[in-house]
Symmetry: D2
């Protein structure tokens, strides 16, 4: 991606020299997510174009320098299917890391596919090879998990693990999920796996709502075919007239925030996870919807290495029954990435995959 | 208070017959708080006028039926200075009490001075005598605490204990308090006592800001004499450029909510305690101020018996040094209560006291 | 149960007069649990013998005085299958209720089948009829739940909901359960439903371990056929060499506590729920197993009304797949209760049921 | 310290070459704490003797390579009085750092004065100069804090901040502190600053109990002059007959753990912070003292960078009134360190200071 608004170009890079502890992967899959569309439109600040996009990826280890123990305890071996946490260089020492314990705001963090310049190395998944510098948190993909399961979940799954963590769902809670994109679909599955007694998803379009039901939603409400008051009636009807115990926003819409706070029950919890970029203000009545309700609202931005590792455990246990791979069914070769971006923007599928081994 | 908008009238009631476990107090002090002004204007629903206002009060025990063990372990004795928690008949069994653990929303709760009809008994403090029915949570006022200290803190102190509880201040946190009414002033004192390293109060008018400094504020900012951006600069200047770790809203203003979320640091906490009644909507950017900040917002409405008892421990330890009594310096006899309400509404003092033993 | 050590006797009682809000149930099932064996041996203090045992029960509503709204929002109707929370008269006002928020230690609480004298009314389930006094927390058994499912879970399920609540399991946690009695078996099921990635149960005898696997355990370890070090090796092998994230003790054995603290991983959590009665001391190295590990240990005694209601939601969603009814398969009529107690004590089955409608 | 049991020797080292981001301090003070005595006796494993002891120190910046922004936002300047967090090289990426969030167990961490070999550089405070490698968390000592205040608190204060963090004291809690060494004395002060209504300290000898009262204890109990049952009576007498809400163990004694669990109230919290090394097992009744009490026990080992920074804020606000400097009044030059160790072991003072600028 040479610059915002410019078409994706195919470029050749020299094979990188490996530092001690460095690893080289042959890419199996990467993904095109909403963030890539934002990158393409230049909506994120501080991006050092040209970059190689693709922050979450899976690949085969082809070369490693030195014996390397992965974070999961495995010794890295050539041929291993490896996955890695895209955020690297988190310092552990700055105010965000050490004091406020919000490592997602670490000033030294870099993110594969987003904040590393192409000139600095193969730091992105839209490429035949990916360089893992020493210290990147990498793990072997569990044997029972297909590469398509992992990349189908992708960055949406890791963000969803964070959101679920903040939501602190208790067994038998009734949960509302707002948004049925890649994050929302994974949140639906994780809420179900966390023991929610009822999961309701609000979103669109119809094919994503179908997918939400496959991921575990008991009821889906189509934003484009229901009114606020119809949704309210249906949600209250399924939650004992009180509203959900927990709601998780994964839509990025200011209107969703306004609707969410009215639906949650007294003493409930609201996790706002979808507002990754600025979509404008929401209007909330602090008396009715926060103070008098004893509502607890928790923001949730980005993810941490622990969420990545937890996502792997979840996939290992559940990928055979939860259809993460159904989220990413359209696969694009490297020379069709402009089309992939256009399709992603038009919401023609929940997620586009990138397979650098294919040719158009 | 015979009806909304009608003048307060003096009426005589027969001395009540005591049920087993019932107690009769001679009122030493009651108070006129913001809620009483709301009652006077008919802004609260479900109030069974005529009522005897005065929800927080202190009195001398003149008669008790049967041996009564108070919640603090004391045996009630005639002559004891008693205080009691205004909320009674909380059931412990409904959904709010038993499931969502929000007893402040119990459907059976009644509140002295607000939701008990005058016809049902002496359930209010604007009266020479108060009837404590069996089961009311009552305690002896600790010897070292003057009646004026207790009533100076009054219902604002008990609400502030709840707000501080929700705020979960950690030692050396920097704390912002929005609002310098009866609740805000006590929040300032409690934040200081909780080990805050810096306490900043935003409010008005000047005499309340003076009081806020006496209660422990390091810096006070006059809402009427500063702009948003001036306040922002001063608050950031005193909080390492990051903003306060915790903010507690005790102003009831929708604008305060909007200002609060912009000031708090990444990963901080915001307690909204002042929106006891509906003052209209606030506009908040969910991306910038909640999601990206990892902000935690907690609503806080009313109080619980535990907060009342904790307030007594706090007074016992600190009333000699924290000037709670300075919050309520103007004292009104029963036949000047219309004036008291008018003065309270005009904010001529932080709080009006009622002394039924005085005559004008 | 006329007295400790004395045989159970069948006695006739007059049909009780209903107070307003009172209800009369025809008993469908009650249970014989470990507590009943303790009662029989006089191991609990303050029991007002003679008593009617049977604290958790299910019955058909045959008579109610006045319109009664149940805690779940239903209007009680004759013919309803009702269940109720055995702990009643919790006051909501004492120190335990209002301050330390441990209502299980409320000084006014009474428990059906344990602390109500037979002379005071039909307050126990080993009886053809049960009297629900006003204020008892009662709910309709959800239609999809069979009486056998509910009583199979019984008091063990409700205690298990409390233990799971204290355990705060996060999605993909590895969980160790110690004990495979009625509580432990339900804990296994609830840990699985809460999203544990691995559930290991340690217990005996073999038939309970079979049941533990049916309830969701991935691995069961027979206490009578394995050594401490064999169990340690197997547990570490299934938990990445680190030990479980969370362990829940439901065995009542001091040795289990000693084993538990050695197995849990650094920074893990340990819920001690099985020591309902005194089984003697445990020896723990505070340095190695608590301090250096950053272990968090939480005691868990009894249950609260909210756990009862949550148990109903869990049954409604999961009773079709989780074999709670398999926990209680042996059913005894009223005239075989001495045998039921003997069988329970000899651990001939996880739980004995009582069906007062049957005759031997 | 050339080896365990060997006398301390004075050695000369070449001035280190500074890496970019490295800093050289002239030592103002270091300390001799209990850990140093353990080091001297070879009780810690993995120590690369010979070492330069002294993990917490304060010094003057004499040389820095490159512009360096400290964690507190200051630009480092020659002449600054700097303090730094002794634990360095915490990686932020291993299981302990990223998943279990127990960075005190990071496999890559190193500690000044303990785990860095003398051959590797000036990584200890018993030296005229200290080398701060790039990435060490360093801050300017606030102007109002004297070097003696900081080093008087020393590593005990930082550990105490961690313990207080785990204790989550609420305003007006009654707090018991076990142990009156360097950690316990700081815990007393921090409990008082956190708003405890009552602070009771158990310890010995008499001069430390005097100091505990100066630090804020309301009552001190001399271990050598009271029996268990006398202490129990006095503690219950000062805590409403219920026992303290929170207890913090800072004694390192297995007997303290046994006493602590019996004293804390129902639903209370117990932080075990003193068992830094193995002092043998404790015997606890899980029924009586954990399960039935709903006790919460939390282990607390070592500290994190955030605790160091919080300690600085606390000192800045309170060092003028809390006599931290009184903890360390005996100052030793480098050639008297063998005597310092002997005096520390004999408990002749709470803490020995090291001033490398002095000569005997």
């Amino acid at each position: 991606m040479p610059a915002p608004h410019a078409p994706i170009e195919l470029r050749e890079f020299a094979e990188p020299a490996l530092e001690p502890g460095g690893m080289l992967l042959q890419t199996l899959f990467s993904e095109v997510c909403g963030t890539d569309v934002h990158l393409w439109h230049g909506r994120l600040s501080g991006v050092p174009y040209p970059i190689i996009p693709g922050h979450v990826s899976v690949g085969t280890l082809v070369k490693a320098r030195g014996p390397i123990t992965l974070v999961d305890g495995h010794q890295a071996r050539e041929g291993d299917r490896l996955v890695f946490y895209d955020v690297h260089r988190t310092c552990g020492r700055c105010y965000a890391c050490a004091v406020s314990r919000t490592p997602t705001k670490c000033v030294h963090r870099k993110v594969y596919g987003i904040t590393d310049a192409a000139a600095d190395g193969l730091f992105g998944g839209w490429s035949e090879a990916i360089y893992l510098e020493p210290g990147v948190v990498a793990a072997v993909l569990p044997e029972s998990v297909r590469a398509e399961d992992y990349i189908g979940g992708g960055c949406g799954l890791i963000t969803a693990v964070h959101a679920i963590d903040r939501a602190a769902i208790r067994l038998a809670d009734r949960v509302l999920v707002q948004g049925t994109g890649a994050v929302g679909l994974s949140v639906v599955a994780l809420a179900r796996l966390s023991g929610a007694s009822t999961v309701i998803a609000i979103g669109a379009p119809a094919d994503r709502l179908d997918l939400a039901r496959q991921m575990g939603a008991d009821l889906t409400l189509d934003l484009t075919k229901t009114t606020l008051s119809e949704r309210r009636e249906l949600v209250l009807g399924l939650t004992g007239g009180r509203g959900p115990d927990v709601a998780i926003e994964a839509s990025g819409s200011p209107r969703a925030v306004e609707e969410g706070v009215t639906l949650i029950r007294d003493g409930g919890r609201y996790v706002i996870a979808g507002h990754y970029t600025d979509a404008g203000p929401s209007t909330v009545n602090a008396h009715e919807h926060v103070n008098r309700k004893h509502l607890e609202i928790r923001g949730c931005w980005g993810s941490e290495a622990g969420h990545f590792l937890r996502a792997l455990s979840i996939l290992e246990r559940h990928a055979s029954r939860v259809p993460w791979r159904a989220i990413g069914t359209r696969v694009y070769p490297l020379d069709r990435l402009n089309q992939a971006l256009a399709d992603a923007e038009a919401m023609r599928m929940p997620k586009a995959l990138v397979d650098p081994r294919r040719r158009a």
